[in-house]
């Protein structure tokens, strides 16, 4: 039984991850045709049945997506692909015909449509892989390859969908004023949109296909065509009329390079979340100069809920989805580390407070030594201090720092009262996990 199931998975994964997007269709066709023919081996039939079940489930998921969002062009495309794979090419053709009418600039949809037509009389083993297109020049072949990658990215992301009830390690607590949070998975080319549920817990609303930098890997230098990985925030909104056409209907710049990036000597600027050139519906997976690019329709759907100066956008190579208990434990640990820092600060025991800071701590104009001197000096005049934190947001950094430490980011409002100074500020801390717990690596205004 186990081995049979493994084979099903293998079949499915070779259809998805291998080069051939249509591959499973052949297998499926064989199964369908063999009905009433010569008897097949029993386990092959079982695989066929389980595969049919998988397709049925996948199609049902797509139908419910389409019921909720009739404009979900990706769902229509995937429905067409899955129908084709499961042997229902007539139905697939109907879906694609409608899709190409509604989204005339969805180049990938036109390509699949062409394949469906051709598959009636010819062998079409993969997207755009047929005699008619084989003669194309190099430019056309590379365009085909890119469209094929887009199809694979979309299909794989759909079939490898996240198990229910898991939470992203990157988003631990969202502050009450945050309406939405974004996590971008570069490996699957998905943008996950979360809303803030009770107690700051992120709740997955929807996910979208995105294009990222032309080259894989983490950005470190200006012009390296890579999309940076880290915890970022949307800084402003640039509307359509202020943008060249190639950015589509709008852009949301991100605060790359952030405090940690600058500390580590990363260069470059102008990393945006933006729309798609008006000539296209979508772009290939690896296409931008480092920006995260959404189809205009999708950007439009979420742009009203993005808040400049607030909305977090975590970019990561691969999202880590944690079981709730594991996620909760990490959140608890960081919340407590922060609370312990606050308590020791308020206590007035300056040496204990300074133990919370890492050896290579930095702040604007300070390192650990100068910071310690300043804090010791200030402590002399304090008779009482009250520190309270509110509007807390907590993020686990998607990469380690250059010293291999786990990093976390905390944003909060800090109310400070004392005998000689009162102040309210919005603060950001970077924390590093070191021996003995989390230590403050950076402290500054948001």
């Amino acid at each position: 039984m186990v081995s049979r199931f493994t084979r099903v998975l293998l079949l499915l994964s070779c259809a998805v991850c291998g080069a051939l997007v249509y591959a499973a269709q052949l297998q499926q066709q064989t199964d369908a045709m063999a009905v009433g023919g010569v008897t097949r081996e029993a386990d092959l039939q079982a695989i066929g049945r389980q595969q049919e079940q998988l397709y049925r489930d996948a199609l049902a998921r797509l139908d419910s997506r389409l019921a909720a969002h009739p404009e979900d062009y990706e769902a229509s495309l995937l429905k067409g692909l899955l129908l084709f794979k499961s042997g229902a090419s007539g139905e697939a053709m109907g879906v694609l015909e409608q899709l190409t009418r509604r989204a005339p600039r969805f180049h990938l949809a036109h390509l699949v449509m062409g394949d469906l037509v051709l598959a009636r009389t010819q062998s079409v083993t993969d997207i755009g892989h047929n005699a008619l297109l084989a003669a194309g020049d190099e430019g056309q072949q590379s365009e085909l390859a890119r469209l094929r990658q887009e199809a694979e990215a979309r299909l794989r992301a759909f079939l490898d969908s996240i198990p229910q009830g898991r939470l992203p390690r990157a988003l631990l607590t969202l502050e009450p004023t945050t309406r939405r949070a974004i996590v971008v998975d570069k490996s699957s080319h998905r943008l996950y949109l979360f809303e803030r549920a009770a107690d700051g817990v992120p709740l997955l609303l929807k996910d979208y296909y995105v294009s990222t930098g032309k080259l894989p890997g983490n950005k470190s230098l200006k012009g390296d065509l890579r999309t940076p990985e880290g915890v970022y925030f949307i800084t402003r909104h640039i509307p359509d009329e202020k943008l060249p056409d190639k950015y589509g209907i709008g852009a949301f710049p991100m605060n790359y390079p952030n405090e940690l990036d600058r500390r580590e000597g990363k260069t470059g600027y102008g990393i945006w979340l933006h729309g798609t050139d008006f000539s296209y519906y979508s772009r290939p997976p690896l296409d931008s100069e480092g920006c995260v690019v959404l189809p205009n329709l999708d950007l439009q759907a979420l742009s009203a809920t993005l808040q400049p100066g607030n909305t977090p956008i975590v970019v990561t190579e691969r999202v880590e989805w944690l079981e709730r208990a594991q996620w909760q434990a990490l959140r608890q640990e960081l919340t407590e580390a922060l609370e312990s820092w606050r308590r020791d600060w308020a206590s007035g025991d300056v040496e204990r407070y300074l133990e919370h800071y890492s050896g290579d701590f930095w702040a604007k104009g300070h390192n650990k030594v100068s910071w310690s001197q300043r804090k010791r000096r200030i402590a002399v005049g304090k008779r009482f201090q009250e520190v309270s934190l509110s509007n807390l947001a907590l993020f686990h950094y998607p990469t380690t720092d250059s010293k291999g430490r786990e990093i976390a980011v905390a944003n909060f409002r800090q109310d400070y009262r004392s005998n000689n100074y009162n102040g309210v500020m919005r603060k950001r801390l970077y924390l590093a996990r070191e021996e003995g717990g989390w230590r403050v690596l950076y402290e500054g205004r948001q």
Binding site: M33, R40, T100, H107, P244
Partner: protein
């Protein structure tokens, strides 16, 4: 003639089937009961001549396959095909046998052979393939840049009531069938439209069937080579299908005066843009100009006004300007455009089409061919 041929034919069939009825029907019954060995025995008891009839061979192969003797079933069907290459059943049933073994490509080619076993069907099938390809090509052109669409040419079948013969004249209805014309709004990078081309007919001759032994579509066929396409091949049309009728202003070179005026128009356009002089910039375009993508002229004007005035400053420089007559007084311009503004910069290869209006060269279409940076 037809009025009495039918009863005779039917009578003949009736006699034949009465004589054959028992053993073949027995085999059928045995097969439907799944009793393959009994069916094989019944078939084996037939006289040798009857064993090699089409019907018996088909049943024999079915019984062999049912009994698990796939190789023998396959051999039997292959023999049927070689004895009766004109019958589709052998190909078809062998294809179905092979599909059961996952031999899809072989099965496909057998089914193609089945269709080609009959000439008119072969022609119909070829035509179907071509239409399919053309429809696919149209989709591909929207997905990719497909070079030079070939107009579709279908072969025609004719049928005459008069007993013998004849090739009908070159069927010259200039009916466009499927050309790969692409709507500009659908695929901005797609090739230009292809002119319609008349459909050369391939004539097939119908001979009335001999009274008795007519298979349903027995047709004697005498294929003729298709006449050469009457119009000029569409590949030469540069940008505008309608221009094909005009003799040759397209080929003639531009006069020096025209070249100078064009250069002046282009530099004036870039200068107006750089000066952020919206009125002068917009006046470089023809009335009702639209960038495509369903954007109206008015909306385009508004967009351009916004885009020209937002940046603090703009510099537009044109390089490598190439002028090429495009027929009907139009000139195709390709150039490198260096756009630099306070907030953005890019370098692109552009294509413009200009036409002269009351002495002034105006932009009719503007397209970015590629982004160079």
């Amino acid at each position: 003639m037809r009025t009495w041929s039918k009863p005779v034919l039917l009578g003949g069939l009736l006699i034949a089937s009465l004589a054959a009825a028992e053993p073949i029907d027995t085999v059928r019954a045995q097969l439907s009961d799944g009793d393959y060995s009994a069916a094989l025995a019944t078939l084996g008891a037939l006289p040798a001549a009857r064993q090699n009839s089409v019907a018996a061979m088909l049943l024999h192969a079915e019984a062999l396959a049912g009994a698990g003797e796939r190789a023998a079933a396959e051999a039997r069907l292959r023999q049927l095909i070689s004895d009766h290459p004109e019958r589709p059943e052998g190909y078809n049933n062998l294809a179905s046998l092979l599909v059961g073994q996952g031999r899809l490509e072989e099965a496909r080619s057998l089914l193609e052979q089945a269709l080609r076993s009959n000439e008119p069907y072969a022609t119909v099938y070829d035509n179907l393939l071509r239409i399919n390809e053309q429809i696919a090509r149209r989709s591909y052109a929207r997905a990719l840049v497909l070079k030079q669409e070939k107009p579709l040419q279908l072969q025609a079948l004719t049928y005459t009531e008069q007993g013998d013969t004849q090739v009908s004249g070159t069927g010259g209805q200039a009916e466009p069938v499927v050309t790969a014309a692409i709507e500009a709004e659908a695929a901005p990078r797609a090739p230009s439209t292809t002119p319609d081309v008349s459909l050369p007919l391939e004539n097939l001759v119908y001979e009335p069937p001999a009274a008795a032994a007519a298979p349903p579509v027995a047709v004697a066929v005498e294929p003729a080579l298709p006449p050469p396409p009457p119009a000029a091949p569409p590949e030469t049309a540069a940008s505008d299908g309608a221009a094909a009728t005009v003799a040759s202003p397209a080929e003639s070179a531009l006069s020096e005066e025209a070249e100078a005026a064009l250069h002046q128009a282009l530099t004036g356009w870039a200068a107006a843009w750089s000066a952020q002089d919206v009125e002068r910039y917009l006046a470089s375009y023809s009335d009702g100009y639209s960038p495509g993508n369903g954007v109206s002229h008015a909306r385009w004007r508004k967009q351009r006004r916004a885009r020209l005035t937002r940046p603090e400053w703009i510099r537009v420089a044109l390089e490598d300007i190439e002028l090429q007559p495009a027929g009907e007084g139009a000139v195709l311009v390709t150039c490198i455009q260096r756009y630099t503004a306070s907030n953005y910069r890019d370098v692109s290869r552009k294509q413009l089409i200009l036409r002269i209006h009351s002495g002034q060269w105006l932009i009719h279409s503007e397209q970015t061919l590629e982004m160079l940076s």
